[in-house]
Amino acid sequence: MSFFTAEDETFRLEVRRFIQTALPLEMRERNHRAYHPTRDDVVLWTKALQQKGWSVPSWPIEYGGPGWTVRQRHIFEEECFLGGAPELSPQGNSLVGPVIYTFGNQEQKTRFLPGIISADQLWAQGFSEPNSGSDLASLRTRADRDGDHYVVNGQKTWTSEGHFSDWLFLLVRTRQDGKPQAGISFLLVDMKTPGITVRPIISIDEGHSLNEVFLEDVRVPVENLVGEENQGWTYAKVLLGEERSFSAMVPRCKMEFERLRRNASFSRTSRGRLIDDPHFAKRLSALEIELLAHETTTWRVLAEEESGHAGAMPTSSIIKIKGTELLQQIELLSVEALGLDAMPVYPEEEYREALPATMPGPVHAVGVTSEMFYRRAATIYGGTNEIQRNLIAGTLLKG
């Protein structure tokens, strides 16, 4: 594991120690159950990190980030996951924040970045629409100029954390003619603006993290336009390209693999512990080997990013495909390993905060099945794996 240097390992220890001291125990246990994070937890943890200057780990120093190397960011993310910290809200941190400091004007930077750093303002994303999934550029939500406002009408969907966010960033159509990509603009919208309705989408894990957002004559001041009108697609594309090693899900895969291994040492069979069963051990090993390979591919991508000259291949597509498919395999085996203890529903609202006095299964079963159901989305969001395979083949066949 000599990908990481001695300094990296020192850094890892520092992160780990910080998490151990700063993260409340009950929050860690909650998050190890892998339910959707609550606003309270996200805010509390972001503020704790802010004390260390770590609340926006990928940002450069000049905008309030720690100025970490890519491997430091990777270590930080991994330690947070394994340590049971709630995930930082990605919408502000990884999506709109970078767009604002890269393409926004000085006023926007001053106005919006501090709220992201402190989690005083949480953000939600308004990109997808019911009829614009993989084909994002076909979006139809429109913004029409009316004096010094845009008037926005339309519908967004799959809006994570929309039910507890303060601000919304939107892709909207500001021109109807020309190529679909050409008439799109990037707007920042206060969710308290009249005309915005948020409707929850309950996902198949019975949890609530997604929402539909309806926009009806929503008046957005023109100063909330990021960059130039009709150039929003360009900004969004840069941002989607940013995700790269993030989408590899190595930390999550590791966390779930460790949970599986731990749980399999609790599961009994007629011949002893499940973990000691040679057939089970073989299946576990196949996943572990895949995880080793996948982690190494991700390190290769990190090294590429570090060296500054990314290769010609869409390596981010490989790690997105592998990470999500491996995660689903791990989680399917996790459910199977629980056996009958995976049968009960352990609903998020009853099990998230604290465990009930009586439960239909052991503590370690809580959250396993709902996490597995929820992650069926992993091969869909962030560009379906079918789209990713198109990209890989396209590059190969062109190259």
Binding site: T157, R268, G339, V345, F373
Partner: protein, 370 residues
């Protein structure tokens, strides 16, 4: 070997399908997991008795009849615990208590006795139980636990499997759900059914609680569980076919990049694979039904194991791809395609996972050779 229902079975299938499509609704169900009136209707229709021989008190059908009904219920994701009652329990009682009142009321209404056999550590090993019975004067004292008894909250009496201390085989004891010493913890399953765990802590029973032969229910249990496995496989095939067709319909209507997504070859091939998996699953179930109607007990067991293994594998693939091909909408609780995946996941867990039955099949084959 029967591939298609005969005329009478076709009529029954159509009746069940119509009922599922038009009349069935779980809306007003209590936490019992089923509505007593609805259940009475099922009994009246003879559906609970369809797979039980005439001698035992049933309609004289066989595994094919049972599975024909189960497939339709699976297609509609009906929540009622048809398989535990009409599959496992009815088949067990038909063997160890044919013609009994207990069986009669199960099949035709009046009572809902339910086999409670499953223990988490068994993981599909059909005769592995740790529940014990200790002789106590004329009666017995039972200790142990049963896990995830599907339909348990709806049962009017429970048929507990236990080993009498010092004896080799398994005995079935009838217990009232309100019996002192018995704790019942009900829960909702991942596929929205109702189940319970049972804890038996010094449950005292009189000698007449014993159902069937003392310490001699082993073979009957295996056959009953294998029958339930087939019926649940048929449910799964119904669910798979419905999920596959729902996906097919979505591919025909959903548009992206200017055309129906069904025009994309990679998605076409995935749909083809869903279809192939569904058909392979159907085939192995038909083969296992055929064996179940035959006399060769080893063959029955082997094919039940084969069916469970193959159908579980197909089910997770078809259910998972149904969501994948739907994209985001497939992830919503409201849209419903994900419910097939949940049912198919629960199917894998019920009565021993597909993987456990693959290992069982291998062990049976090795035993056969030596």
């Amino acid at each position: 070997m029967q591939f298609l229902p005969d005329e009478a079975q076709s009529m029954m299938r159509d009746t069940v399908r119509r009922w599922v499509e038009k009349d069935y609704s779980a809306e007003g169900d209590s936490t019992l997991g089923c509505d007593p009136d609805r259940w009475a209707f099922l009994a009246e229709q003879g559906w609970l008795a369809a797979g039980v021989s005439e001698e035992a008190g049933g309609l004289g059908g066989n595994a094919f009849d049972l599975c024909t009904i189960a497939e339709e219920l699976g297609r509609g994701l009906v929540r009622d615990a048809f398989v535990p009652f009409a599959g496992a329990t009815a088949n067990l009682l038909a063997q160890i208590a044919p013609g009994s009142d207990l069986l009669q009321e199960l099949l035709w209404g009046g009572g809902r006795p339910l086999l409670a056999h499953s223990e988490a550590a068994a993981r599909g090993e059909q005769l592995f139980i740790e529940t014990t019975a200790r002789a106590d004067g004329d009666g017995f004292v039972l200790d142990g636990r049963k896990d995830a008894v599907l339909g348990g909250p709806f049962a009017t009496s429970l048929l507990i499997s236990a080993r009498i201390e010092g004896e080799d085989g398994i005995t079935i004891f009838q217990i009232d759900p309100g019996q002192p010493g018995l704790t019942q913890q009900s829960f909702r399953t991942i596929d929205n059914r109702s189940a319970c765990n049972l804890v038996l802590d010094g449950v005292k029973l009189a000698s007449d609680a014993l159902v069937g032969p003392r310490s001699g229910a082993d073979n009957a249990l295996i056959l009953a569980l294998d029958q339930a496995i087939l019926a649940s496989c048929a449910e799964a095939v119904g669910a798979m076919e419905a999920a596959m067709l729902m996906t097919r319909d979505y591919l025909r209507t959903r548009k992206q990049f200017g055309s129906e997504i069904g025009k994309f070859q990679a998605l076409q091939h995935r749909l083809a694979d869903m279809f192939i998996e569904t058909e392979q699953a159907r085939s192995i179930v038909l083969r296992a039904i055929d064996a179940a109607c035959g006399e060769d007990v080893a063959q029955r067991q082997r094919l039940a194991a084969a069916a469970k293994s193959r159908v579980a594998q197909a089910g997770l693939f078809v259910g998972g791809q149904a969501i994948q091909l739907h994209g985001g909408i497939g992830m919503t609780e409201e849209y419903g395609v994900g419910h097939y995946f949940k049912r198919l996941m629960a199917f894998d867990l019920y009565l021993g996972s597909g993987n456990a039955h693959l290992e069982r099949f291998a062990a049976l084959q090795q035993a056969e050779r030596t």
